[in-house]
């Protein structure tokens, strides 16, 4: 019961803080909307300058390549936001000197780090993916909007295991005397997930790693959805099931991991 109250309190506080940031910085909110389009335009410009969309469609295995690139760019920006925000938050708190206060507060560091990240990452993912909704509607009609919402749902499912991975990686910066050494995480996840190419382009070892990365499954869903008309729903349910299983497994590892980091920091102090 007490745990649920902590979750509610932390999420409420984070929700309020994030809304205030957006309210006080409207230009920042606008820039968040623009990034998926910039990324899509970049990869389209890069590819079509030296190749063709039809080759891309046949290699990646999608019927509607433009729709896929836009959808994949939304997933890419969301994933970067989730992983970077989760990994950098602890470092930001360390820099600002407020970690000791958080550790001394009743919920403690582990709860603030785990639950506190859910709301901001969910809002930023919603912004990134709803930003592409107008183009999805133009390309595919109302069905395009439904597809974007399905991807958003899957991104939400992937958020939980992603936070687990990123928080553990980010918490290492409290133990090591380092500034930040986890910013390779988000591009690495995107590299192995095959966001703009088939996974078969990668060496075998990276193909194997891709199976344990949640983003791979969201990218796969985006590929399934990039057909004209109604996509096969059974495959999407299977992907949702995998993401739920990952959420449970990764957080079973992350939560005790974070507890031991907190214990270490309480004993030895924060490394700066």
């Amino acid at each position: 019961m007490k745990e649920l109250e902590y979750v509610k309190m932390i999420m409420k506080a984070e929700f309020y803080a994030y809304l205030c940031w957006l309210k006080n910085n409207k230009l920042f909110a606008f820039m968040t909307l623009a990034w998926p389009y910039l990324m899509a335009a970049f990869i389209l410009g890069l590819g079509t300058a030296l190749g063709s969309l039809s080759v891309f469609a046949s290699k990646v295995g999608v019927a509607n390549p433009i729709f896929y690139i836009i959808l994949a760019s939304g997933v890419l920006v969301s994933s970067i936001n989730i992983v970077d925000y989760s990994a950098w938050t602890l470092l930001d708190l360390k820099w600002l000197g407020v970690l000791p206060y958080i550790m001394a507060s009743p919920p403690g560091l582990k709860r603030v780090a785990m639950y506190g990240l859910i709301i901001p990452t969910m809002i930023s993912s919603a912004i990134s993916l709803t930003a592409i909704a107008p183009v999805a509607v133009i390309v595919e009609g109302p069905l395009g909007l439904v597809k974007v919402l399905i991807v958003l749902g899957l991104v939400y499912l992937a958020t939980i295991p992603l936070i687990g991975i990123a928080v553990i990686a980010g918490s290492l910066s409290l133990i090591f005397k380092e500034e930040s050494f986890v910013s390779f995480l988000s591009p690495l996840m995107l590299l192995v997930s095959g966001v703009y190419y088939p996974i078969t382009f990668l060496p075998k070892i990276l193909q194997v790693i891709s199976y344990i990365v949640p983003v791979t499954y969201v990218v796969e869903a985006a590929k399934i959805l990039s057909v004209f008309g109604i996509p096969p729903l059974d495959k999407l349910f299977w992907i949702a099931g995998v993401l739920v299983a990952m959420s449970i497994l990764y957080n079973l590892i992350a939560y005790p991991g974070l507890r031991s980091v907190e214990k270490n920091v309480r004993k030895h102090g924060i490394s700066t």
Partner: protein, 271 residues
């Protein structure tokens, strides 16, 4: 002490600081190199997904060096502008103003970090790519010209970053998010496509972007592709752009620091 001596002493202190940080944060330094290499691979593979199998080796050379130049530009900007977050969080921005040292000069010292990261990441990834794809990407025709082009590219990116730093301090938007033009630079900034190969409309835009000329010089060194205006003219134009950008950046920095001295740094919350 004369003004020049004081400036020199401050500049040496800032260079020393950044070199010490590189030594101190070894894991972070490695992380930057690895992150860079991952982006090179990710974008190159993305571009290769558009090209048919028969043209892979030819296209791979063009794509690879285009992406390397784009990444050098992007990396310089992100490492300089992204550091504002650290400087503000550690509250050392005001400290530097109080000690009569321009904090923008402190932030611009990140160019040392970005240059070392690039110098280490590019050869490693070029060799790895050569062995992976077999594309002749490591056979450079004139290494001096390539280096000159890349140095100009870094100089433009560094000056542009300082303008973004000043804007981010005024607008409260993380500077990296202000860098909306970087994605377009691959095509309209001439980094991925030579001027001679562009459509007339895009070429007209590319004429006004300094990166175009640095890339033309670098490409002449890498693949022997003759610059659109000839080598000497391209070099002269690139120097004119460097002077104009330098003067503009100096004026923007002066205006921003004067503004900050009066109104304080606007760096709260998500900045």
């Amino acid at each position: 002490m004369s003004g020049n001596t004081v400036f020199l002493r401050k500049a040496i202190a800032i260079i020393w600081l950044h070199l010490v940080r590189l030594h101190r944060y070894k894991l972070g330094f490695m992380n930057m190199i690895i992150t860079d290499m991952i982006w090179y691979i990710l974008l190159t593979l993305g571009a290769l997904a558009f090209s048919s199998a028969g043209t892979h080796s030819v296209i791979a050379v063009l794509i690879f060096w285009g992406i390397v130049m784009w990444s050098i530009m992007n990396n310089t900007i992100w490492l300089i502008v992204g550091w504002v977050r650290f400087v503000l969080a550690w509250r050392i921005f005001e400290d530097h103003i109080l000690h009569n040292t321009n904090p923008i000069l402190l932030i611009s010292g990140r160019i040392i970090t970005s240059t070392i990261v690039t110098a280490l990441a590019v050869p490693v990834i070029a060799i790895a790519f050569y062995f992976l794809t077999g594309a002749p990407i490591i056979f450079i025709q004139n290494i001096g010209l390539m280096a000159l082009g890349i140095i100009l590219l870094i100089a433009y990116a560094a000056l542009y970053s300082m303008i973004l730093v000043c804007l981010s301090l005024r607008l409260r938007i993380p500077g990296v998010m202000l860098d909306v033009t970087n994605m377009a630079m691959f095509v309209i900034g001439g980094l991925g496509v030579p001027l001679a190969w562009m459509s007339p409309v895009i070429r007209d835009i590319a004429f006004f972007i300094p990166y175009t000329y640095a890339a033309e010089i670098a490409r002449a060194g890498i693949a022997g592709i003759k610059p659109y205006f000839g080598l000497t003219n391209t070099f002269l134009i690139s120097l004119i752009y460097l002077a104009v950008l330098g003067i503009t950046t100096g004026a923007v920095i002066k205006y921003s620091i004067d503004y900050i001295r009066k109104h304080g740094v606007k760096g709260v919350g998500m900045m």
